[in-house]
Symmetry: C3
Subunit: 292 residues, 3 copies
């Protein structure tokens, strides 16, 4: 592939020689005939790039006039680089069907071009939308509806009973029946070994474009609104509502029934014991607003 | 079903019309001919219920004389509602046997009416008591004894070696052989993707009626006493003892060999680096007693 | 076995009678004809041991002259006891091969005397070194290279895509293609239900003799250097580098791209939002240096 093809794809002008491009890499590991990107300007990066004129660099506008190597100026180098990788380098998903070792109960509704990997178990009341890809060793049970173009990573457990108990007069915890559902929207990612519990009553809801990392616990009756990102190790209690476009950093934990406003940012390890207003950054144990 | 049947089952008088009851729901989602509950009194709830005279409400004593709709007054509405759901709505467990894709080694002792789900692996020294239900993709190894009427959720891993190492004179960690056992009592719940490690020497113990949520780590030689509730994301170090009737909130972590007294309450995200006396509430990082 | 055999194996003199040894145990649970150890001196232990002259005690030098029972003085009683357990009591690994329920794709390279357990899934680009033992229900995908003499515990998920997204102009998170590799050294342990993600670009690296406990998240492009111990519930963000011989306590979480110096000690529940210098102890949320 030539650099000019990348330039045409991005609809951005190519500065310098029209190199042959064979691969992609990080700046730190770049070899000749590779495409790289630099998001922020640094003199170190500018010098490094100028000394490596056999690479194509997708760079921020601040690099204008400062590079000798072939490059493309971009308002968002990381997003444009992402688009290049998706278009030219990422393997296209072409695997459909059900692996012979997967157990799919009678009654499951499966859309078009779905993949269900090895050693999965899919219970009889599950609905799976078109082009959703389910990796190996996933378990999905209960009345769980999953939208189209979702990705469920290996070891995820969706649809187990939520954790609800009431102590009887002897102090013995008696299970509150967990009879609710799960509704997962479109383009949702569920991470490896992440758990999503069914509601007690009603529905646990994960809206469109929510992306969840590994080892996360989504509890009964939680509701996560669209475009929110939930990173690894986050633990929800039950009945939490998270507004759209939020960011929940690793190892955050959230008390039951908290309401987290849209565009909020819950910082690394924050312990959320009060509601969080929209457009707010909170950090600490207990979490407090960080004025910035 | 008629409301009078519920009244008779609870042995509590029915106030108002003897409605036909078809389903159950939360207050927020209620439709006609449903049974709901309200634990605490609020004027908003009282008005809402009085405007919906096609529902049966199981309500706290404070609602007496304040409702137009059919209702039953209860000292513990949530517990009575739980009993209604268990009696009239929860599916009865009728599935017994071993799923054909489960691997159960020769030597395993299995009680009556046990279920072992798809893609499980059960090692040869495991004992499983009557009516214990093991969901899909569970692994149980080592000398692990599980009591009767337990529930092991999908992805739980029970009986792997504990994490014990001793650095040699070059600083290389050498594994301390993990040769102990696990003893799990009756009516114990183990959550999805939760791990319970075998003891180094001796036995890791989980007593009767302990309920453990998802993504919890129980380490070698821990001992959890009866009726204690352990919520999601809790991480134990080795050799911890937790007294009975305690509550461990999400994402709590506990230093090795700590002793946690009975009836203790470890708050959300608490980092436990000292023993906790009985009947004590602790919160924070590091955790300190909260006087209440 | 006689105590004198243990003495000869350790090359340390036996004090007292040459007992028959039948088993091993903790001090708390010891029965006659057992071998036990005591790491630190306490008068309570000394009295207890002296009253039990049918046991062999491997004890610290401070016990010299204070015991009536048969004993062996040791500079490192726990390490010597570990060696006794490994030599005389731990079952030798003799299980090789691939369990018939494991799915191993064409193309996998497998060394000598490897074991792959029940219900595993191994993708086609995986390389597994000699004598590596993979427990049940493990998933390994992507270009993942695992060294020799490793132990991968049940439920571990290795090689899923890392968590990388870039919001487009509508705020919708678009996945950054995750096209990198994983390289795991020799004598590495990966805990139950632990996740190790492939790099975005480049390689996620876990060096020789790193031991990782259960429910840990290793993110894309992390690099963990040799002999470091990572305990349960630890959550890494991406691009973190941890120096050799470090200790990461339970439930620590680490911000992206942090550099953790060698011989560092990250205390229980520490929230790491700044680099950590070598030979440093940090604790708290946010983590601060603890001068000791």
């Amino acid at each position: 592939m030539k650099s000019s093809q990348i330039s045409q794809f991005l609809k951005l002008p190519l500065q310098g020689e029209d190199l042959e491009i064979k691969t992609f890499s990080t700046l730190a590991e770049c070899t000749p005939n590779t495409v790289v990107f630099a998001k922020k300007y640094s003199e170190k990066n500018a010098i490094f790039l100028s000394e490596n004129n056999q690479i194509l660099a997708i760079v921020a506008l601040e690099y204008a006039g400062k590079l000798n190597c072939p490059h493309i100026l971009s308002e968002n180098p990381r997003m444009d680089y992402l688009r290049i990788l998706q278009e030219f380098f990422a393997p296209k998903q072409t695997q459909f069907g059900i692996h012979p070792t997967a157990v799919v109960e009678i009654g499951v509704q499966i859309g078009k071009e779905v993949y269900i990997g090895a050693n999965c178990y899919i219970g009889s009341q599950v609905i799976i939308g078109d082009r959703t890809y389910i990796h190996a060793n996933v378990v999905i049970e209960s009345e769980t509806q999953i939208g189209h173009d979702c990705c469920i990573k290996s070891g995820a457990i969706i649809g187990q009973a939520g954790f609800g108990f009431e102590r009887d007069s002897n102090g013995v915890p008696q299970p509150f029946p967990q009879l609710g559902k799960i509704k997962i929207g479109n383009y949702v990612h569920i991470g490896a070994n992440t758990c999503v519990d069914r509601a007690a009553l009603g529905t646990t809801i994960i809206d469109d474009n929510v992306k969840i990392d590994n080892l996360v616990h989504i509890a009964h009756n939680d509701e996560i609104k669209e475009n929110t990102l939930i990173t690894a190790g986050v633990v929800f209690s039950g009945g939490v509502i998270v507004g759209k476009n939020s960011w929940i950093a690793p190892n955050v934990c959230i008390k039951e029934k908290m309401q987290i406003g849209k565009n909020s940012f819950l910082g690394l390890g924050a312990v959320i014991i009060r509601d969080v207003a929209e457009n707010t950054v909170v950090v600490g144990n207990p979490a407090k607003e960080l004025k910035i």
